[in-house]
């Protein structure tokens, strides 16, 4: 799946330190120190967006640490991607979203 340059730019404008890499034929976006909704612990956490289908989800947002509080509570993924360990909630978002919308939709799980 390819994303338009504009979509990627929207992502980097919002998350200036964003990086990308591929592994096993899958493209990932690293969002360093992603701010969690207020009151969540930790408040900043590195995140990895997998914008394509994975594990039965249309997209997934992996976090470097489990974040406490919020609507989502079912942490069902503990995986190693790009030589780091990541955790993800069971949280399904609309498959037809732009990259920046995907991040926002995944963050809803922590509100």
């Amino acid at each position: 799946m390819s994303f338009s340059e504009q979509e990627v730019r929207e992502l980097t404008d919002t998350f200036p330190g964003a990086e990308e890499a591929s592994e096993g034929g899958v493209r990932y976006f690293l969002l360093p120190s992603l701010a969690m909704p207020e009151g969540r612990e930790p408040s900043l956490v590195d995140a990895l967006l997998c914008p394509t289908a994975r594990d039965g989800y249309p997209s997934r947002l992996f976090l470097a640490q489990r974040v406490h509080g919020g609507r989502g509570s079912n942490w069902n993924a503990s995986v190693r991607i790009l030589e780091c360990n990541w955790y993800a909630l069971s949280w399904r978002v609309n498959p037809n979203l732009r990259l920046i919308q995907m991040v926002a939709a995944h963050l809803e799980a922590f509100r």
């Binding site: 990627v8 730019r9 992502l11 980097t12 404008d13 200036p16 330190g17 964003a18 990086e19 990308e20 890499a21 591929s22 592994e23 096993g24 034929g25 976006f29 690293l30 289908a53 994975r54 594990d55 039965g56 989800y57 079912n74 069902n76 993924a77 503990s78 995986v79 190693r80 991607i81 790009l82 030589e83 360990n85 069971s90």
Partner: protein, 478 residues
């Protein structure tokens, strides 16, 4: 085929080579805590290129892009990724040396390192058999070239690699180290593997010992190769306990085991080496493995990790071969990714019992060998998004799948046979993908039918450039 893969393995190591006069003149470069791995197809490509005659130069030169990593106890890993030949027009006339290349070729190598963020090695070949040494000219001139590349990308390992027809030697400059070292081992990751020890005085414990007299058919140097190869086993229960036990009997002394579980009563139907008292005392499965291994090989070097391998990935990366005996597809996927990155052959075994309506249960299993630069488990159709999604819907748990001792034993024995062949090459088997299916109801093991539809296309999932630690690309803002 230039790189010999037929027949039993000779042991191409420097200790067996005639001592050249140059060794007394060359600077004394010590052996350091570095392991180098080069996938077999890449080695074949390099040898084919370097043996082409040049219009006037006596030798050819190329550059090898490498990935970096950290293995066990901080050992540096250097993983061969891609090779670029130096173009014919980039050679200079110089009768005093085998090959002299111009500034443009060197500039391209520098740029390759800068653009990729990876290390770059100067590569050339001495067209003989046995361990190659750097010549006096190599040893005095090439470090200056390496130094130039290092200045641009000091965080990556760089160096110089010399190949012979069946062996290799290298000087490696790792990040932050002012002087080069010779790697402990250069592994050519092929079928069979070539574990080239660069220790001048290799330790050959029990060579020709009585213990192994019945397995002499494995080859003259098999005992030494087996004793030196570092095998990782992930999952030390049903399948892994058989693997560990058999590896010890065969003579594998360097074993690494991963399992975060304790023995309980429900394991006793299949965990080889476990005792009833282990269940009541909740002994770690790693401790059972250690007891089994050291019971056979008291001086074995077993390192067990009580936890998920992901929490000690360095220990896994340091292995020459990894055998996975895990329950879930997601675990298999992650293991394969890690092994591909660090050019480690990955052998996967697993079994399941399927029940359809009122039919008798069907006992099925598989053995897959995933080699770098060969079809992966996605290519083989064993892993797919649907399977992973179904598993994730069960919250990643494989559940209490039925497990019995005998199919685990069959699959584990077959896997150990594969590992022994990989290390020694005793069977002379040709390469090619290994995907065996086991029918536990009939006792048959045969090539999986999917193999015939595989074709010859390269694996699209793992690129040659994606080796070593991942390098992320910073995205530009508008």
């Amino acid at each position: 085929m230039i790189w010999p893969t037929d027949g039993r393995q000779e042991e191409p190591q420097n200790s067996a080579a005639p001592v050249s006069v140059m060794r007394w003149i060359l600077p004394d470069v010590p052996v350091g805590a570095v392991r180098m791995r080069i996938p077999g197809k890449l080695m074949t490509q390099m040898l084919a290129d370097l043996q082409r005659p040049h219009p006037f130069a006596a030798e050819r030169v190329g550059f090898l892009s490498v990935g970096a990593g950290t293995g066990e106890d901080g050992e540096a890993l250097v993983i061969g990724g891609e090779y670029r030949a130096v173009g014919d027009h980039d050679y200079l006339h110089d009768d005093d040396v085998g090959a002299r290349i111009g500034a443009e070729a060197i500039r391209e190598a520098l740029q390759w390192a800068l653009a990729s963020g990876r290390g770059v090695f100067h590569v050339h070949m001495h067209p003989h058999r046995g361990a190659p040494d750097f010549s006096f000219t190599d040893a005095t001139e090439l470090p200056r070239l390496v130094e130039a590349i290092r200045r641009g990308t000091p965080a990556a390992p760089h160096g110089m690699l010399v190949l012979s027809r069946d062996s290799a030697n290298a000087w490696v400059w790792t990040a932050g180290q002012p002087a080069p070292c010779v790697p402990v081992q250069i592994a050519i990751v092929d079928r069979p593997m070539r574990l080239i020890s660069l220790l001048r005085a290799s330790v050959h414990d029990n060579i020709g010992s009585e213990r192994y007299q019945r397995q002499g058919f494995l080859g003259l140097h098999a005992e030494s190769l087996i004793g030196r190869a570092r095998i990782g086993v992930v999952g030390l229960s049903g399948g892994g306990s058989h693997i560990i036990q058999q590896l010890a009997h065969v003579g594998f002394r360097q074993t690494r085991g991963f399992d975060g579980d304790h023995v309980d009563e429900s394991n006793l139907n299949r965990l080889v080496g476990a005792r009833a008292v282990d269940a009541s005392r909740r002994v770690r499965k790693g401790n059972v493995a250690e007891r089994v291994i050291t019971g056979v090989l008291p001086d074995a070097n077993f390192v067990g990790f009580h936890g998920r391998w992901q929490e000690n990935a360095e220990l896994l990366r340091g292995c020459d071969v990894v055998v996975g005996c895990v329950d879930s597809f997601a675990e298999r996927q992650q293991l394969e990714v890690a092994c591909r990155r660090y050019a480690i052959p990955y052998a996967d075994i697993g079994m399941d019992v399927l029940q359809v309506d009122h039919e008798p249960p069907r006992l099925a299993g598989q053995l897959i060998l995933s080699m770098p630069d060969a079809p992966c488990m996605f290519c083989l159709g064993f892993l797919n998004e649907e399977r992973l999604a179904r598993e994730a819907a069960r919250y990643g748990a494989a559940g209490d799948r039925p497990q019995v001792v005998w199919p685990n034993g069959v699959l584990a024995s077959t896997a150990v046979g594969l590992v022994v062949d990989l290390i020694t090459g005793w069977s002379g088997s040709a390469g090619g993908p290994v995907y065996l299916s086991y029918d536990g109801n009939t006792g048959l093991i045969q090539p999986h039918p999917r193999l015939q539809f595989l074709g010859a296309k390269a694996c699209p999932h793992y690129g040659a450039a994606d080796v070593g630690d991942p390098i992320l690309r910073r995205l530009q803002r508008s």
